[in-house]
């Protein structure tokens, strides 16, 4: 054995200085390029604003729509009365939706599974179909329950659904027959979740792209913060509302 083990290790570990310099430069340049390329691209994660929330503050708080919708068992559901005082996440979607609706529901569901019972019992997640023709009770109920049994599935006639969306200030959903496929047609609809706090007002919305960790940060706070006239959060939220920070109510997916 011409060399001792340590001599071998030394020869392996240390290469001529000139070579190391070149290699180090190459490694640093490659790693730097990769990292900068990644960091330079827009991250889908939502930025946190001054309030500390990941949601998008509305210019002015929005009231819950005064509508009576229909549960899957056919009984009426007065949205304002049934969700009074609860943190209510309201979303308009449909079961044939390929991306936005299931991703939103899966995200909220995953985070609720990590929250305490005391927190989750003070919140309601309401999913209102905008495709009542295809979203029959037999279809909508099980579809939503696969995410979370506590989620509330609602439907209604076209006029009621139209009014509910208009009251929120979003563009009512419309059929998109150009995007036909196995499901027949798609629906162009608002992609954001409205978060109504215990004062029954929506101070912010959560657009598509909201990550589970964003929900995990915000939902417990939305449940536990005091909202209303004496709430500093609400005051701050109203003060921060500006066109630049508001969600576009007409975002269609």
């Amino acid at each position: 054995m011409p060399y001792s083990l340590f001599q071998r290790m030394a020869r392996w570990a240390f290469v001529p200085r000139r070579r190391i310099d070149r290699l180090t430069l190459a490694v640093a340049a490659t790693a730097g390029t990769v990292i900068l390329a990644g960091c330079g691209s827009p991250s889908p994660a939502l930025a946190t604003d001054a309030s500390g929330y990941h949601g998008t503050m509305l210019p002015a708080p929005v009231e819950k729509p005064a509508v009576v919708l229909t549960r899957m068992d056919g009984t009426p559901y007065d949205l304002r009365a049934e969700t009074d005082g609860y943190l209510t996440l309201l979303f308009f979607g449909y079961t044939n939706c390929p991306d936005v609706c299931p991703v939103h529901m899966a995200g909220i569901s995953a985070v609720m599974a990590q929250m305490t019972f005391d927190e989750t019992r003070r919140m309601k997640v309401v999913f209102v179909t905008i495709d009542p023709e295809r979203d029959t009770p037999e279809k909508l109920g099980p579809w939503l329950a696969q995410f979370d049994q506590r989620f509330i599935a609602l439907t209604g006639d076209s006029a009621t659904l139209h009014d509910a969306q208009t009251e929120l200030g979003v563009t009512p959903a419309v059929k998109d027959t150009t995007a036909t496929g196995a499901t027949g047609y798609a629906m162009a609809h608002a992609a954001q979740v409205y978060a109504f706090t215990s004062d029954n007002l929506a101070h912010m919305v959560y657009p598509f792209g909201t990550r589970q960790k964003d929900w995990a940060d915000d939902l417990p706070r939305l449940v536990n913060e005091r909202w209303g006239a004496d709430s500093t959060v609400a005051v701050n939220a109203a003060a921060m509302g500006s066109p630049s920070t508001s969600a576009s109510p007409g975002v269609l997916r």
Binding site: W12, A13, I20, V34, I35, A37, G38, D99, A106, G209
Partner: protein, 284 residues
């Protein structure tokens, strides 16, 4: 995001609904064509006239390496890994960085390696690119950097970024594994104990990354969390499968490699197809 209807040259995240309709990726084909040609030249032409009848396993490894490389990059694995499933992305990583490079390198016959000595320029380039300690550092840096969420989410949305990621894994893998499998003239032999130490430390980061994916409470990559779902797996389940793939597939392969090195150290199953070394360097 790129128009989903447009032909892509390399797989990237489109944000479009998944379908099983086959898609061509011309960039993958071109890369495979060029790579296979270069590899053929290295593995075969350099052995012209030499007795290669006693190296069937090297032929198997070479063919398997090329086929695996193609299958890992092309549709559907490439497309699924680029924009839909973190588990497939992890599978691609393990294949490109930890399994395909050693297969390809093992596929280079000792006779070809021996004849490389006659090409000093090529030897110099290979020598610089495969110095063990820097190779291990580069391999680790690439492995860690390419699993940072902002890097992954930033790169996967573009074809160039996705191509860069795949190449970073593959090339750093080749550089890392070269020292273990292919001797370089004028470099001391890589003794078995050092090989084991090198393998252990060189692949340590992948264990931490796998564990991180397994224990994270929420999905770490927006690309896969927000991708249109098409399986029953939730994004977190998918991420845990990704960690499992890295642990199960990657670690098993590393353990197998260490075991082989160890038993060869003991003299069991020593390779018998080595040529005599007229130029003074060993081939293992």
């Amino acid at each position: 995001m790129t128009d989903p209807a447009a032909v892509q040259w390399w797989c990237s995240a489109l944000g479009a609904t998944w379908n099983w309709e086959w898609q061509p990726y011309p960039g993958v084909w071109l890369f495979m064509l060029l790579f296979a040609a270069a590899y053929w030249w290295l593995a075969r032409r350099l052995t012209a006239g030499a007795d290669t009848t006693r190296t069937p396993w090297r032929t198997v490894a070479a063919v398997a390496g090329v086929i695996c490389l193609w299958l890992t990059l092309d549709w559907p694995v490439g497309k699924l890994g680029a924009g839909y499933l973190a588990s497939v992305h992890a599978f691609q990583f393990v294949m490109l960085a930890m399994i395909i490079p050693p297969l390809l390198l093992f596929g280079i016959r000792p006779q070809a390696v021996a004849r490389l000595a006659a090409r000093p320029r090529l030897v110099r380039v290979i020598s610089v690119l495969t110095v063990p300690f820097p190779s291990m550092i580069v391999f680790t840096i690439v492995m860690v950097a390419t699993h940072v969420p902002s890097v992954v989410d930033g790169l996967m949305v573009s074809q160039l970024g996705s191509f860069g990621l795949d190449m970073a894994w593959f090339l750093s893998g080749l550089s890392f594994w070269w020292s273990l499998l292919v001797p370089v003239p004028a470099r001391p032999r890589f003794v078995p104990l050092l090989r084991i130490v090198y393998l252990f430390f060189g692949t340590l980061a992948h264990l931490f990354i796998a564990m991180w994916l397994l224990i994270s409470r929420y999905p770490v990559y927006a690309t896969y969390e927000l991708a249109p779902p098409f399986t029953g797996l939730s994004p977190l389940d998918d991420q845990q499968v990704a960690g499992g793939v890295m642990l199960a597939l990657g670690s098993t392969f590393i353990l197998l490699s260490v075991t082989i090195v160890f038993f060869r150290w003991l003299g069991v199953g020593a390779e018998r197809d080595e040529p005599t070394a007229p130029d003074g360097f060993a081939t293992r």
